[in-house]
């Protein structure tokens, strides 16, 4: 029992940091409707700043002063980001905003890499609070007690700020109806900057306060932002109290998992302390299904200005497209002839083709389906592991293993999709992300079956596909079929019904379309094809590991789709081609590939929201529909 209580105290201590980030994220979202993916980076920078200041100044002043100065520096940086970047993207669709701030996160990560290096940096003990207190028969650091107190104090302070001050009143008004507030003559630009600075301050403070608790590390941004997403989604976007309750809930559930430890039920041994990641995402999924807007959230007031640009009608492929597609197919078919000269060409070619299948399947639900999945890696991973496990454990031949891939992904997509189609917008994105994280953590933590972080190795295609050219041609055949089938589906009544549900759920319902069921089926089909890409990937690389199915994979997919142009059916193909070539040829050459990728993302969002296909269509002066 004491162990549980002690872990509960630990949980409260970790909840503080989580609450600060979540509260900042929530505040910013409430006012500006921007989901700031770079909020974890601000947390990370807070910690790095505090570390640097404490190193230079030293002593108690360096430590405590460093924490405050670091938080203020992050606030200043936040204001700078708001003025220079976010102001340009308030009017673009939410998906682009999420992606732009994600790009920012990548850039910040590489800047931190350049400034502080790749090694973890451990801060000093807290002067004056370096001792321990004995509670429940164990020693709890005094600093943890301090953190337990700071969390609620900041909550009260924020409450007073929001409830009593003029600034707080403006924030609350903007959260409810920002257009109205603007119409009343409030300087919105200033308000948005101030709120972003406040949110950044909280994130920076949350990070800086960890100085005596955990080392500054470059992996913090992603880890923190995924947890912060979970916190704000459970608590309800825009609710500070919700963020606090959710932070405590998440931290307590993790503490509980650790306290339970290893449990044996008959033959089965479950190590709960390894399930912390899965646990928090399961809680989030459960909350979203019961309360789609989080525990304390309310449906967002409609944002009148923003909105996805509507697609143009689909046109069947005209002669130019057919000619181009045939020429491309022939060129790809003859690629093996170049093997002697460019041995690397077939590897890159296979990579590109797999990326095309992956991106096309993602575009299927993102574009025509209108469901912005941030977790497409889940189905890629299920397919990859499905095929790999079929070979490892069932010793199935290549054909059967490649069949297992889409089936495994289909099963996952049916399950996850059932939940996902009940949500929309940003909540849908978060939920799909959560599901992808669950798949990832299972692959990572279920070592006996999946090989843990090493993954499964030595899965090469058997003869006659055991040479690069043959496997490339197999991949090409599968990719061509997959792309044609998905395209055909979009022109069929089902594809139209899917778009109908996206264009106007009201009208779709009134003419007898079961929008959710259409979305569910679309989700499942997309997962199925995506799983195929995962299966192809395993045999191309000879292995699969959790690293290959992480958040990065999901983001890659989104970047491909947007780079190519989400409103065009050839967009994902162009995007996947360009992006994976870029990845293979440029990004592998540099340590700073994240900054490069981030830069590409920002470029897309700021300059080419229509993607390459959109830009081409405009450039050739034909209506956007004609080039499909």
């Amino acid at each position: 029992m004491d162990a549980f209580l002690f872990q509960a105290l630990n949980g409260f201590a970790s909840a503080s940091g989580l609450f600060f980030v979540g509260a900042g994220l929530s505040l910013i979202f409430g006012v500006s409707r921007i989901v700031n993916s770079a909020h974890g980076s601000l947390y990370m920078l807070g910690l790095y700043f505090a570390w640097t200041i404490s190193q230079y100044m030293g002593g108690a002043l360096g430590f405590w002063g460093g924490i405050v100065l670091a938080a203020m520096a992050v606030a200043g940086l936040g204001a700078l980001i708001e003025v220079s970047l976010l102001r340009r993207i308030y009017h673009v669709p939410q998906l682009f905003q999420l992606l732009a701030t994600f790009g920012l996160m990548l850039v910040i990560n590489d800047v931190a890499l350049g400034l502080w290096g790749a090694e973890d940096l451990l801060g000093p003990r807290a002067p004056g609070l370096s001792g321990f207190v004995t509670i429940f028969g164990r020693r709890l650091p005094q600093y943890d007690l301090f953190l337990i107190v700071v969390g609620p104090l900041v909550l009260v302070a924020l409450h007073l700020l929001l409830a009593r001050s003029r600034f707080g009143r403006l924030i609350r008004a903007a959260t409810q109806d920002r257009e109205m507030l603007g119409a009343l003559g409030v300087n919105q630009a200033l308000l948005f900057t101030a709120v972003f600075a406040l949110g950044s301050f909280l994130a920076g403070l949350g990070g800086a306060l960890q100085l005596a608790r955990e080392p500054a590390s470059l992996s913090l941004d992603l880890a923190v932002i995924s947890e912060a997403f979970v916190v704000v989604v459970i608590g309800g976007m825009g609710s500070i109290t919700g963020a606090f309750v959710a932070a405590v809930l998440i931290a307590q559930i993790k503490a509980l998992c650790i306290a339970i430890g290893v449990v044996s039920i008959g033959e089965l041994t479950i190590n709960f302390s390894q399930l912390t990641l899965v646990a928090e995402f399961v809680v989030m999924a459960a909350v979203l299904v019961v309360r789609p807007y989080g525990l304390f959230g309310r449906p967002q007031g409609a944002v009148r200005s923003a909105g996805d640009a509507a697609d143009m009608p689909l046109r069947p492929a005209g002669r130019p497209l057919l000619v181009a597609a045939t020429a491309l197919a022939l060129a790809l078919l003859s690629l093996p002839l170049l093997e002697a000269r460019f041995p690397y060409a077939l590897i890159v070619g296979t990579d590109v083709l797999i990326a095309v299948v992956f991106a096309t399947s993602l575009h299927f639900i993102m574009g025509p389906g209108g469901m912005h999945s941030f977790g497409h890696a889940a189905y890629f991973g299920l397919g990859a592991y499905g095929a790999a496990l079929a070979v490892k454990w069932l010793a199935l031949p290549l054909g059967a293993a490649l069949l297992c891939a889409p089936l495994a992904a289909l099963a996952g997509a049916l399950l996850f999709g059932w939940f996902a189609v009940r949500l929309s917008g940003i909540y849908l994105a978060m939920l799909t992300l959560a599901f992808a994280q669950i798949v990832w953590s299972i692959a990572f933590q279920w070592e006996e079956v999946t090989g843990g972080s090493n993954g499964l190795l030595g899965i090469w295609p058997p003869s006659p596909f055991d040479n690069r050219a043959a496997y490339y041609l197999l991949t090409l055949a599968v990719a061509v079929v997959a792309v044609i089938v998905l395209r055909r589906l979009l022109f069929a009544p089902f594809g139209y019904a899917l778009r109908a549900g996206r264009d106007s759920p009201l009208r779709a319902g009134a003419i007898g379309i079961d929008v959710r069921r259409m979305q569910w089926l679309g989700f499942a089909l997309s997962g199925l094809v995506c799983g195929l890409a995962g299966g192809l990937f395993v045999f191309a690389k000879g292995s699969i590991s959790p690293e290959a199915i992480g958040v990065g994979r999901s983001i890659d997919g989104i970047v491909m789709v947007l780079l190519g142009g989400i409103q065009s059916l050839i967009g994902p193909i162009v995007g996947a081609g360009v992006y994976s070539l870029l990845q293979d040829m440029v990004m592998r050459q540099t340590d700073y590939w994240r900054a490069l990728l981030g830069g590409v993302i920002l470029l897309i969002v700021l300059l080419f929201p229509g993607g390459i296909a959109g830009a081409l269509a405009r450039w050739t002066q034909t209506p956007a529909g004609a080039s499909r």
Partner: protein
């Protein structure tokens, strides 16, 4: 024959009785106008009949079967068509495809995965567009149309399941006076030809008085009058709701030079 029978229908939004114990019926072949000032509860009534909202109390019977609690798609399958106050069409499709979607759904072909949708039901779709005067725009993107034309396309979609009951929420909003008259005359003709029941709301009194078979009047959620056009025009309670006391509707032949007391309210800006 009674197509739609509504008994004691009530909808509360918090403490507001948006629709308060309303009862009325529509017979097949009847062109029934539902009028009332803004906020009277007209659209709420439509949304309950069509399944977008669930009533707090009361019963809605369509062809003798209760449809309370059914989703819109099930009500469509029973033979109810609907147009919305703010037209709802599929912006990323052509005008023709919009109507084809209605026909495809009516033919239960939504889960077709192979044959292209654009080859299905082309002729009937064009015929429906011809009826509403939009056949020339068949291949244009719906998002490019003027709002009045979008409303016409929406009517064609709503007719795709050959409905026995058509619900039209302000079908002529955004149209010029001449267009209004033409559209309502067209619907009136369909009512006669197909023996279809139509319930519609309309702010333009001359249109209502010229074409409706019967008029029911809502005010603050309550049904205050139900009767023939002439009776409604002379009803003091209705006059009071619209004008306060002391004024009357013009008695000149409606549809021509009668003053249009409410036309200026009836043009919400396109979305």
């Amino acid at each position: 024959m009674t197509t739609l029978k509504i008994r004691h229908l009530t909808k509360l939004f918090g403490g507001v009785r948006a629709v308060d114990d309303v009862s009325f019926s529509v017979r097949s072949g009847e062109f029934l106008a539902l009028i009332g000032p803004n906020g009277a509860g007209k659209s709420t009534c439509f949304n309950m009949i069509n399944g977008q909202l669930a009533p707090n109390a009361g019963d809605i019977r369509f062809s003798g079967r209760s449809i309370v609690g059914l989703p819109p798609r099930a009500i469509f399958r029973m033979g109810v068509g609907r147009t919305f106050q703010i037209a709802a069409t599929f912006a990323s499709m052509t005008v023709l495809e919009n109507v084809q979607m209605g026909l495809i759904s009516h033919a239960a072909q939504l889960f077709g995965l192979w044959r292209p949708a654009r080859v299905l039901h082309r002729e009937p779709a064009i015929e429906l567009l011809r009826q509403v005067g939009m056949a020339d725009a068949a291949d244009r993107a719906c998002r490019e149309l003027a709002y009045g034309d979008v409303k016409r396309v929406e009517l064609a979609i709503a007719l795709a399941n050959a409905p026995r009951l058509l619900l039209m929420d302000e079908p002529t909003a955004g149209m010029a006076p001449r267009e209004r008259n033409d559209l309502i005359a067209l619907v009136k003709q369909l009512v006669v030809e197909r023996n279809m029941a139509v319930l519609f709301t309309e702010h333009s009194m001359d249109v209502v008085f010229a074409h409706a078979d019967r008029v029911i009047v809502l005010a603050r959620g309550k049904l205050i009058a139900d009767g023939a056009v002439a009776a409604i025009r002379d009803d003091p309670q209705v006059q009071e709701v619209y004008f306060g006391t002391g004024k009357t509707f013009s008695r000149r032949t409606a549809g021509h030079q009668a003053p249009r007391p409410c036309t200026d309210q009836s043009s919400p800006s396109p979305p």
